[in-house]
Structures are given as C-alpha cells and as structure tokens.
C-alpha cells in the first residue's frame, strides 16, 4: 500500500535557525514526489515536484531533495513568514488505474521572530 509519513509533526524554530523536514514514502514505482505549503484556511500551494533520486530543487529559502526512500525539505535561515504546514505527497495509481496523490499528515512549522 502506498504510504507517506512526515516528521516531525510540529517544529518550532527561531528566525534564522535552519532545519529540515522529512518525508518517508513507500510507493510502487515513484512517478513524482510533491511538496506543498498550506496556510490556515487555504488550499495547499504547490512548491516542488521531484522525480528521481538525487534530484534537488530550490525556491528562495527552501530546497527539496530526494532519495529512493525519503525526501527532505531544507529551510535555510527561515523567516516568520515561512510559518505554515508543509505537506508531502507521492504520485500513485488508484484502484481505477488513474493517477492520484497520496499525502502525508504534514509538518506544522512555526518560526519565532
């Protein structure tokens, strides 16, 4: 069964304190791993898609990396506006054969000024 586990559930950092969020996955043939940011009361905002082990993508203070079993979202020198829930999802195949996303439960990140 396709499964995504994110850790930690919650993380509190001081402004400027770098850290990493983890996303471990099991899926039959990875077609894509997605990272999102979700603010309270809003839908997920797409950040990155990674397709193969060794791939890296960056956006401002965020960098996502991928191995065969997990992905990391590295946050460098975060600011309070980076506070949000970060979601990880893998592209999987539904029972109908169509593509779908399987999500982790998210990491709630708080950056204190």
């Amino acid at each position: 069964e396709d499964q995504v586990t994110q850790s930690p559930e919650a993380l509190r950092l001081q402004e400027g304190e770098s850290s990493s969020l983890n996303c471990s996955y099991t899926v039959s043939g990875l077609r894509g791993l997605f990272w999102y940011r979700q603010d309270p009361g809003k839908g997920p905002e797409f950040l990155f898609t990674l397709y193969s082990a060794g791939e890296e993508k960056e956006k401002e203070r965020l960098k996502a990396t991928l191995t065969k079993k997990e992905s990391f979202l590295h946050i460098t020198a975060p600011k309070p506006e980076d506070s949000a829930t970060y979601l990880c999802a893998v592209q999987a195949r539904s029972v109908w054969g169509a593509q779908k996303l399987v999500f982790g439960q998210g990491t709630r990140l708080t950056i204190n000024p």
């Binding site: 995504v4 997605f34 009361g41 809003k42 839908g43 997920p44 905002e45 797409f46 979601l87 999802a89 592209q91 539904s94 029972v95 109908w96 169509a98 593509q99 779908k100 996303l101 399987v102 999500f103 982790g104 439960q105 998210g106």
Partner: protein
C-alpha cells in the same frame, strides 16, 4: 497554471442535510479531483471527475454519499449528502493531479 475558485469557503450545516460545493477553473481541464482533509489528518482522495463520464470513487467513498457532477471542462460540484458530524472536514478540489488547489470548504456539521 489554472486558477480554481471554490465556494462556499465555509458552512455550518444541520445533520441530515446536504451541501453542494462548487469549483470553477479559469481554463479547460480534463481531470478534476476532490479531496477531504479531516481534522489533524492528511488529504484523502474522494473521487476523480472527468467531463462526460461518471466519477470514479476511491475505496471508502460512495456515489450516494458524495455525488459529483462535471457538466463541462471548467466546472465541477461535490455534494455531501445526509450529513453527520463525522463529515466535518475541509473539502478541496484540484485539477491535473494537483498543481493548483481550490481554497477549500470548511464544513462543520452540528
């Protein structure tokens, strides 16, 4: 990427009633997806909606409870029928796998 407008943004409903959620996309898309996000849980796919064909439902979700319409390539609705407090969740739509999501509908059933 296409922009999705979703409404209502929130609602409080009586048990036993139904609520229809609408998603409007600003361009034509082939596939639309409906997800549920229960409190403290991850997003779970309810069903996939293609224009011109019946929606396909994931395990644990049935058409009688969550009927979906897809009348054209820019619009879809999800109805939550005969609601109970367990249906209290955030409901989200997206298209083309998941690059853009609607803003979500926060449903509370009392």
């Amino acid at each position: 990427s296409a922009v999705i407008s979703q409404k209502p943004s929130r609602d409080i409903c009586q048990r036993g009633t139904s609520l229809t959620i609408q998603c409007q996309v600003d361009s034509q898309v082939t596939m639309m997806f409906w997800y549920r996000q229960q409190p403290g849980q991850s997003l779970t796919l309810i069903a996939t909606a293609n224009q011109g064909s019946e929606a396909t439902y994931e395990s644990g979700f049935v058409i009688d409870k969550f009927p979906i319409s897809r009348p054209n390539l820019t619009f879809s609705t999800l109805t939550v029928s005969n609601m109970s407090p367990e249906d209290s969740s955030i409901y989200l739509c997206t298209h083309s796998l998941g690059y853009t999501f609607g803003s979500g509908t926060r449903l509370t059933v009392v």
